[in-house]
């Protein structure tokens, strides 16, 4: 099953490689991994999306907790949570496609953030499946380039991950 795990860790050099190394050394899957410092610059917050049986997920959270740099770990999938991913898509926008691309971006509530006479760059935020749906809706030949951040997650309501 897919799980989304949030990790609060010391903002130290090498902390990211400890997590990435743990996943590869123990053969766990990483679908995506995002990390950046928090409002407290001594801490980083990481979101890891992974797939595994309950036993594997239990081991993943235990092994993450065991890393010395890791302060706290929660499995967001244990409760209500929100997840978002950012994607930038560069599409060909010439001739009749130019209007079509603008319309598609509007339908998916994306924003065009860069324009040339040949292409648009569209910014889109949402769950991974929404981003997938957007790409599917576009003419494949029109897509010049995509870049996605991977999911970031946060618990709903009073569910808070902090020191």
């Amino acid at each position: 099953m897919r799980h989304i795990i949030s990790v609060l860790l010391e903002n130290e050099a090498g902390a990211l490689s400890r997590v990435a190394g743990l996943f590869s050394a123990r053969g766990y899957n990483i679908e995506s991994l995002t990390v950046a410092p928090t409002e407290d610059s001594t801490l980083s917050r990481m979101t890891v999306v992974t797939v595994g049986s309950d036993e594997v997920i239990e081991q993943i959270t235990k092994q993450l907790n065991k890393l010395i740099d890791v302060v706290k770990v929660i499995d967001l999938s244990d409760g209500d949570h929100i997840e978002r991913e950012l994607m930038l898509v560069k599409v060909r926008a010439v001739g009749k496609d130019r209007e079509e691309m603008k319309r598609m971006a509007d339908i998916f509530r994306g924003r065009i953030i860069d324009v040339t006479d040949k292409d648009y760059t569209i910014e889109l935020t949402g769950t991974g499946s929404k981003l997938d749906a957007f790409l599917k809706a576009l003419d494949r030949g029109a897509i010049l380039e995509t870049v996605r951040t991977g999911a970031s997650g946060i618990g709903r309501g009073e569910r808070v991950l902090r020191v």
Binding site: R18, E55, Q59, K66, I68, V71, V163
Partner: protein, 565 residues
């Protein structure tokens, strides 16, 4: 007053009460060596290869309850040390490894003797640090010792670039330390302890299975009290030998791949299993599917939550320091009105004695060729069971584990997890330095001992009177045994051709050598060797080339599917 980074490193070692540093100098650590030279509180032991340094510090740590310390230079110094670091990691040995690094301005430029130490060692350390500012050395060293020794222990690498050891800063060694990201659990959960007691009281066929965690956690006394209070059978893993007295009637011997028939059968057929400081690894329970085929309630005590329900699903997990949890269990038992089911226990013991009567460790005592088991039995008798025994890896290791009856913890020093050949001799150096005057035997084989044979030179320099018991069968015996059982007797590359004359080799290093070829000479040779209290004696026992280790649970088989002699 400001001190240099190198002075600070040495002052930290002094503050930690470090007695010995095992190491080998080189360019990146010259400032540190210069400071070691100027003082005499921390003694340095010069090895002949960095692997030996780490194993020696490891042996020192295993035989005491102190943190081992080693010091190596950058690049090849580190890569040579990696085997030793991984060995300590697999067996959870507290260890601080100080490594030199090229100057900070040269890092990442493929400088001479540069390697990514933090990257290379990351998967085989509990934690590691690269210290880029001289002001951080003292705090980092404090953290390193704290992390190495607490919780589930392990090796910690502190990588220090050369320019940092020559820069200056004020020295303040913190008296204590707190880390928000590292807080090992000590006390077991009271509710879980109560549940465990209830399960133990209901048991009809109970079993206590303990591992290296009891030794590392200093809980041997508590374990003995608990086992006797309950009247249950007890087995130890390879890493746990000595945690419960091997001469006690309640001890069933070691379990696992080369465990005793009675221990493996009791493990397989018990209905309540109390596992303490052990991790159900592949060499212990064999095929997990076969193990699960028998239903049983499992109580698992361990300081490391990730050890629980890793290979085997546990019914009653108790996370905590083994000693504290055992004390809690004993307190509950003392206060409990209930008693274990004595009637059922009697039946269970009758069954166990039947298994025990199978005499699974028997071997041909009338043999005209020296049997390796016989050498270990005699070693046990001659040393009155009081020796510290280190070993390498292979058949000799298993025979030492089966036939030397360890009554005390920290006497049996071997590489259980990583299975590192070459461990025994350097480890014995650390043990002998930690216990001057004590009898220290290194049980080894002609293949293993050659992997760190250069340390005989270190033994001479520091006058370490280790007794090397070389079980020489001219084969990598365990490899040969597997080839005999599973590869149609094709002994691919397991024959040790062109062996050195070990007697002359020992003599060339300035030691005493003995070659023993007849069973009748075994005991006299051992007696003479141990009577030479100030000498290293290398005993080359020419043993039966075809002898195998029994019982054996073949890979992929279940615990009760042993090959018996």
């Amino acid at each position: 007053m400001e001190l240099t980074g190198a002075e600070i490193v040495v002052r930290c070692l002094q503050e930690e009460g470090v007695e010995y540093v095992f190491g080998y100098p080189g360019g990146a650590v010259l400032f540190i060596y210069d400071e070691l030279f100027k003082q005499d509180r921390v003694k340095h032991v010069l090895v002949r290869h960095e692997q030996g340094a780490v194993h020696a510090a490891d042996g020192y740590a295993r035989s005491t309850d102190k943190v081992g310390v080693s010091l190596v230079t950058s690049g090849p110094g580190v890569t040579n040390a990696v085997t030793g670091i991984a060995t300590a990691y697999m067996d959870s040995i507290p260890h601080v490894v100080i490594t030199g690094q090229v100057p900070t301005h040269a890092i990442g430029l493929d400088a001479f003797q540069e390697c990514d130490t933090v990257g290379i060692t990351r998967p085989c350390v509990k934690h590691n640090f690269l210290v880029k500012d001289v002001k951080d050395i003292a705090l980092t060293m404090k953290k390193a010792f704290y992390i190495a020794a607490t919780g589930r222990p392990g090796p910690v690498v502190v990588d220090i670039p050369k320019d940092v050891t020559n820069a200056k800063a004020e020295f303040n060694y913190p008296a204590s330390i707190e880390m928000r990201s590292y807080n090992p659990v000590v006390k077991g959960h009271p509710g879980q302890i109560k549940k465990a007691i209830q399960a133990l009281m209901k048991a009809k066929r109970p079993m206590i299975y303990t591992g290296g965690g009891v030794v590392l956690g200093g809980a041997a006394e508590e374990l003995a009290r608990l086992v006797r209070l309950l009247g249950f059978p007890c087995t130890n893993t390879l890493m746990g030998l000595g945690a419960f007295p091997a001469t006690d009637r309640q001890f069933l011997g070691m379990l696992g791949m080369h465990g005793t028939y009675e221990a493996n059968m009791a493990m397989q057929h018990c209905d309540v299993l109390l596992a303490i400081g052990a991790r159900f690894d592949d060499r212990v329970i064999g095929n997990p599917k076969h193990f699960f085929a028998e239903p049983r309630t499992i109580i698992h005590v361990d300081i490391d939550p990730s050890s629980i329900s890793k290979r085997v699903k546990v019914d009653i997990p108790i996370v905590g320091n083994v000693r504290d949890v055992l004390r809690d269990l004993i307190r509950h038992l003392d206060a409990a009105k209930e008693q274990p089911d004595r009637e059922a226990l009697k039946t269970w013991w009758t069954q166990i004695e039947l298994w025990r009567s199978r005499d699974c460790l028997k071997y041909d005592r009338a043999s005209a060729i020296i049997k390796p088991q016989y050498v270990i039995e005699k070693l046990y008798e001659v040393t009155k069971g009081e020796a510290f025994v280190t070993s390498d890896v292979g058949q000799h290791q298993m025979w030492a584990a089966q036939f030397y009856k360890f009554d005390k913890p920290r006497r049996w020093i071997n590489s259980g997890g990583l299975g590192t050949m070459g461990f025994g001799l350097p480890a014995a150096m650390g043990v002998q330095l930690a216990h001057p005057g004590a009898a220290v035997a290194c049980v080894t084989g002609e293949a293993s001992v050659q992997m760190c044979i250069q340390e005989l030179s270190t033994c001479k320099q520091y006058r370490l009177p280790i007794k090397v018991v070389n079980l020489n069968n001219k084969y990598m015996g365990m490899v040969r045994q597997w080839q005999e059982f599973f590869h149609g007797n094709r002994y691919a590359e397991s024959y040790m051709d062109a062996l050195p004359d070990f007697v002359k080799l020992a003599e060339s290093y300035g030691h005493t050598g003995m070659k023993i070829e007849k069973p009748a000479d075994v005991e006299p040779a051992l007696k003479e060797a141990f009577a030479r209290k100030d000498e290293l004696v290398f005993m080359d026992f020419i043993t039966d080339q075809t002898e195998n280790v029994f019982p054996m649970v073949p890979g992929g088989k279940g615990l009760s599917e042993m090959i018996l002699v």
